[in-house]
């Protein structure tokens, strides 16, 4: 076996404060052109391990062990050597794209900078490269996007920018931490394609951290499974999927939900149920236009959308990245007023209510935000964040007990109560967001990608919880997700959004098995399955449809 490109030996990461090390004795290796997928429990130390390689952990972290890149220890490099590696030899995609970009610089600026940090290029040339990169990650209209600020892009779009940045200088090693979490399946498929292409063409080695077994199945050569800071099992992807040895791996694979394959039946006729008088949520012909800057035309992010959710019903909202899902959610939650159209919650138009009533009505709506990182106050502990709704709408419960209860519900350890957001893993933050949304037993829940950062086992638990809660409390839910399998499991009805318009809606089982719209059909075709062999076949087929 040739000299590995990257070799981790006995890597341990500790965060002071007498806690258990976040990463313990991890030993991994990666050869050029190889894709190693790291999967595992949320909070098991995947991100910490990855970030330790570029020494990007906060000062509180203490590293031990060795991490050799081309035989050189990353942990002992001088600042100058390290700088050459960062973004040059090693590119990194961060887990939370929405906070990973500097809010005060344009996308273009940040991309150009990444290019020029390692290439002796002029501004013009770097800019051309930036456009090329954006096109490469499938961001439409790259020229215009260059001038956009991060807050003007959707979560998926930002993720693609972050990927573009990571591959800007054609690194030898790409560390991708959940690179596809926020992406709809079609884009996800494209990204996987891109990564594979990079690997094939440039012999790039990829350390892929993901919770999505479909992605693993489609891309990885080898898999390492982490739990509780340790690598519990590693091996070839086919081998591991077929014969998992460690019980945790087995659990993990068992927890994977997959989409029911299309039954090939005829497309359904268009159906559009009218909202009942006591619908929990009615969205009536809503449009949102983002004003353009400096005379540029605005973006019509939501375009005449009508939806409704009945009490006790789960409406799945799927659609490609940037199709306006989050924008619609922000309108429903009252954070943004629609350019036109009307939203009624439980029969009442929130914007027409008095302040007090509106406040009370808000208490009946729970929201899970797409970006867990930025939706948590960095100066508040987890417990306070979760208890916040209880402070706003005091209930007859002991807030303390309720917080524990909620933590339990989302499978978070009680010991996290007094931590601050920056001390949590991505999935942990996401679960905090879910706990907060459930704190008041809402009548309507708006959940924007609530499980995107969760590993399948936790995701399965959370989904089960969701289901049972939903059955018990009969809350209505607008469930935004890119994961069709999850939507299928959870939703009663599905609406498909594209370019701000609803292209199709109907009962989940039917829409997902017998799509009427071509776009929906493509989405379904692109959904990965957690079987390496099957997934590779499917992918080839998808390429034919897409191409």
């Amino acid at each position: 076996m040739s000299e590995p490109l990257l070799a981790l030996r006995d890597v341990t990461v500790e965060f002071g404060g007498g806690r258990r090390p976040a990463v313990r004795g991890v030993t991994l290796s990666l050869a050029a052109g190889e894709v190693l997928a790291v999967v595992g429990e949320s909070g098991s130390g995947k991100t910490v391990t990855a970030m330790s390689l570029l020494r990007l952990l906060p000062d509180t972290a203490r590293l031990s062990g060795t991490a050799l890149l081309d035989g050189q220890d990353l942990y002992r490099m001088s600042p100058a050597e390290l700088r050459a590696v960062r973004g040059g030899r090693v590119g990194m995609v961060f887990q939370e794209p929405m906070s990973a970009l500097n809010p005060v610089f344009t996308i273009g600026h940040q991309l150009v900078e990444a290019v020029r940090a390692h290439r002796p290029w002029g501004a013009r040339r770097a800019r051309e490269r930036a456009v090329e990169l954006l096109a490469l990650v499938g961001l439409p209209d790259p020229e215009r996007r260059l001038r956009a600020y991060p807050h003007e892009l959707s979560g998926g779009q930002l993720q693609r920018v972050v990927i573009a940045m990571a591959v800007a200088c054609e690194p030898a090693l790409l560390i991708a931490d959940e690179p596809t979490t926020a992406l709809d399946v079609t884009v996800q498929a494209e990204i996987i394609d891109l990564l594979r292409d990079l690997r094939d063409r440039l012999d790039v080695a990829i350390l892929l951290i993901t919770h999505d077994m479909g992605v693993v199945a489609g891309l990885a050569d080898r898999v390492a499974v982490m739990k509780d800071g340790e690598v519990v099992e590693q091996g070839g992807v086919v081998e591991l999927f077929a014969r998992p040895r460690h019980p945790y791996t087995r659990d993990l694979l068992a927890a994977v939900v997959s989409l029911t394959p299309p039954d090939g039946g005829p497309a359904r006729a268009e159906e559009r149920s009218a909202p009942s008088p006591d619908a929990a949520l009615v969205v009536d012909d809503v449009s949102v236009v983002y004003g353009g800057r400096f005379g540029l035309p605005g973006v019509r992010a939501v375009d005449g959308v009508s939806l409704h959710v009945e009490p006790g019903e789960v409406l799945g909202l799927v659609g490609e990245s940037g199709s306006g899902k989050s924008t619609l959610a922000s309108v429903i939650t009252g954070l943004r007023s629609p350019t036109s159209g009307r939203v009624t919650v439980a029969g009442r138009d929130l914007s027409a209510l008095g302040r007090r009533e509106r406040r009370a009505a808000r208490g009946r709506v729970g929201v899970v935000f797409q970006d867990p990182a930025s939706s948590l106050n960095p100066r508040a502990t987890i417990a306070r964040t979760i208890a916040e709704p209880l402070m706003l709408h005091p209930r007859d419960v002991d807030p303390d007990r309720r917080v524990d209860e909620l933590l339990e519900l989302v499978r978070l350890d009680r010991s996290l109560r007094d931590r601050y957001p920056h001390e949590l893993s991505g999935g942990q933050k996401q679960r905090v967001g879910i706990a907060r949304a459930l704190a008041l037993d809402p009548a309507l829940l708006i959940a924007d990608e609530p499980t995107s950062a969760l590993d399948v086992s936790v995701q399965a638990q959370v989904l089960d919880l969701f289901r049972s809660l939903q059955e018990r409390l009969r809350f209505a839910c607008l469930f935004i997700s890119h994961d069709l399998a999850v939507v299928e499991r959870l939703a009663d009805r599905v609406a498909v959004l594209r370019d701000g318009r609803v292209v199709e809606q109907g009962p989940a089982a039917e829409v997902l098995t017998r799509p009427r719209d071509a776009y929906t059909a493509r989405l379904i075709a692109a959904a990965p399955v957690a079987d390496p062999v099957l997934q590779r076949e499917r992918h080839a087929r998808w390429r034919e449809i897409a191409g």
Binding site: R86, S99, L101, V162
Partner: protein, 331 residues
């Protein structure tokens, strides 16, 4: 479009602010138990003389009338007295100072270059040193650097400018004899002399102002360094100088720019003490004289001008927010 509308509201607001400043200055001035005409009454002062002086200077009318006359003068000009001794102040007339025998606008115009040289130079100096020291203090948090930066900041704000000025003159002017003391040489006459003579006043003014910048920068920098995008910038392989000096600093600057706007606006209105100590014929001396002599027209002129600068600085700052932080753009 939106920027234009924003600028429009801001300008309308600025005019309103100036109007309010003028109005309240007038109103307050009439609260002051001192008769400006007393200055022009001479010694011995008699009731009759006093009444004459008052009438001539236009202080006979009720204050709001006088205010209207003043406001009108801006558009139409004014004439004081009559006959051959009448004083004509052409539009835009911002008042006429009887104590200085000059039209207020001309007086301000005469003094402005001095104050502007002083203020802008000092501002540049303190901005660079203050922010620089703040960055260093943040990066070397808890070390001797940090402690020294703190102690000198505190010294800067604690020591009266007057004291700093005197000590500076004593040390650099007389004992070491490295800089000339006092006086002002216009930039147009000799840029070198100009800078050389202003060096000490700049340093003194900067020292007393830099503290807030150092401390604010440090605090904001510490906040910002914890952000994820700093991590991203590092991961790109940017030099630390770029990560700090660009990615972090840009996010740090918002409050700094705010203070800067306020400070600069206030300073341009006259750095009273510094000008006095260094014998610089700037607006500060003019203002102090105006207060001391109850020279209402001059006082009002100076005040309005200072307010104008402050408001302008604030408008510029508000526009800068947009440039510095796209999220802060007013919607």
């Amino acid at each position: 479009m939106r920027t234009a509308k924003f600028a429009g509201t801001r300008i309308a607001g600025a005019v309103l602010v100036l109007f309010l400043v003028a109005l309240s200055t007038y109103a307050v001035f009439y609260l002051v138990p001192a008769d400006p005409a007393l200055q022009a009454c001479g010694r011995p002062c008699t009731e009759q003389n006093l009444a004459l002086a008052r009438e001539f200077m236009g202080y006979g009318d009720p204050w709001w009338r006088q205010f209207l006359d003043f406001a009108g003068g801006i558009f139409t000009g004014r004439t004081f007295g009559s006959g051959p001794t009448a004083i004509v102040c052409d539009a835009p007339c911002f008042g006429y100072s009887f104590a200085q025998n000059t039209d207020v606008l001309a007086l301000i115009g005469e003094r402005l270059p001095v104050t502007a040289s002083l203020a802008l130079g000092a501002a540049l100096l303190w901005l660079v040193t203050g922010v620089g020291a703040g960055v260093v203090a943040a990066l070397r948090r808890g070390t001797a650097w940090d402690r020294v930066a703190l102690a000198s900041s505190v010294a800067g704000v604690s020591a009266p400018v007057y004291l700093m000025g005197l000590l500076g003159i004593l040390l650099f002017g007389f004992t070491l004899d490295v800089v000339p003391v006092g006086g002002y040489v216009p930039f147009t006459t000799s840029p070198v002399d100009w800078a050389w003579r202003l060096a000490l006043p700049w340093a003194v003014l900067a020292f007393s102002h830099a503290a807030v910048y150092t401390r604010l920068t440090r605090a904001q920098m510490l906040d910002t360094l914890g952000e994820d995008y700093i991590r991203t910038a590092r991961a790109k392989g940017l030099t630390e100088a770029k990560v700090i000096g660009k990615h972090a600093l840009r996010n740090v600057l918002l409050p700094v720019v705010t203070v800067f706007g306020v400070d600069l606006g206030a300073l341009l209105g006259g750095a009273v003490i510094t000008e006095r100590v260094f014998g610089l014929p700037g607006l500060g001396g003019l203002l102090i004289d105006a207060v001391g002599q109850r020279d209402l027209p001059l006082l009002l002129g100076c005040t309005l001008f200072a307010a104008f600068l402050i408001v302008t600085a604030n408008v510029v700052v508000d526009l800068c927010y947009g440039a510095l932080d796209p999220r802060a753009r007013l919607s």
